[in-house]
């Protein structure tokens, strides 16, 4: 039984306590860049999750064979291979999303979240824990991207996933689609998450 809830705790940690964007604050470059629409945010989240999952598995399987000196170059080649596969898959099956994500798909390779996760976790733990952890971090990352991109799309274009959401004479806030909007929204969302966490902690303390 202990083994199961270790896996479960690895998975859950990635979703909230150690959410990569709102708590660990890593993997921010794509987060700001592609979240002007929920569609792109979701695609980037899933692409990152796939890469994280695939390379986590491979690296934790071969963690003892790769000599310490060439560790970073070998890990980064494995990750780059999976990202190229994702990029070719997107170009073949979802051409318009691939065009919109554009230069940010290859940046998944150097996303601090993935190399950080590989190094810290996959290369020191057995495969099943690495998979649980990768899944948790990946889904946590995707959920945060969806949260950020829905705020920016609803305010910036008045639509959600392309469907008109706000009616009446709402003039969309164009700033939300530009870089300043991304920075401001994420900054405020971080503040909101901290407030929620403090509230949860206080309630826990009161209960004890």
């Amino acid at each position: 039984m202990r083994k199961i809830n270790v896996l479960f705790s690895d998975f859950i940690k990635g979703l909230w306590q150690e959410n990569p964007i709102f708590r660990l604050l890593i993997g921010m470059c794509p987060t700001l860049a592609v979240t002007s629409q929920v569609k792109n945010g979701l695609a980037m989240g899933l692409a990152t999750t796939f890469t994280l999952l695939a390379s986590s598995t491979i690296i934790s399987i071969f963690r003892n064979f790769i000599p310490k000196e060439v560790r970073i170059p070998s890990y980064i080649v494995i990750i780059a291979t999976f990202v190229t596969i994702v990029s070719l898959f997107l170009k073949a099956n979802f051409p318009e999303i691939s065009k919109e994500l554009g230069p940010y798909v290859p940046l998944i390779i150097v996303n601090c979240l993935i190399l950080g996760r590989q190094e810290a976790f996959a290369s020191k733990n057995p495969t099943h824990r690495a998979i649980a952890d990768a899944l948790g971090m990946g889904i946590g990352f995707t959920l945060s991207l969806i949260a950020l991109s829905s705020v920016r799309e609803v305010l910036g274009m008045g639509t959600l996933l392309g469907h008109q959401v706000i009616f009446g004479n709402f003039r969309p806030w164009i700033i939300m689609l530009t870089p300043p909007g991304a920075f401001l929204t994420l900054g405020l969302l971080l503040g909101l998450v901290n407030i929620i966490n403090k509230a949860v902690k206080n309630r826990k303390k009161k209960k004890q």
Binding site: V110, P179, N194
Partner: protein
Amino acid sequence: MVKELILVFIATVLINNFVLKYFLGICPFLGVSDKLSSAISMGFATTFVMTITAPVAWLINNYILIKFDLPFLQYVCFIIVIASLVQFVEMVIKKFFPLLHQSMGIYLPLITTNCAILFMTLQLVLREYSLIKSMVFGFGSGIGFTLAIAIMASIREELEFRDVPESLKGPGITLIIAGILALIFVGLAGLIQVR
């Protein structure tokens, strides 16, 4: 020809600023920019590596990827060379120039996981720059990165003495300031139309 290079340089530093427009290098931008001195040495180390990576990436692309027509190897080739090059250069500097290593060399390993470097190499391939233009582009993007991180560092040093809402302390307020900085840089857009 020189006029074009200057235009590309100014456009990369001010208008298409790597941090404030393309959102690159945000991890170090949030982490390192609380002290001006470390931010500037970080900026110059990044600029140094970007200036040497740009020609290397240009050579790989033209003499390996285009000659043998293997476009799909682009990411893997660039990243394996950047990672190994950085590791090797860091060891050389640590061995022969310990003083330089202390101030700038320590930033070298950071370069492998820096989005700005990989983005820069892919952009100079996409825009089909010549060798000289690629180096100017690499140098310009490094200076743009340094400029953004230095401005942020000086603001954050000032912030120590101001009261910031409890929940926004640290990264929250940095992102909001970065948003305002990005707004200022958007004002510069359209100054130069250059590709």
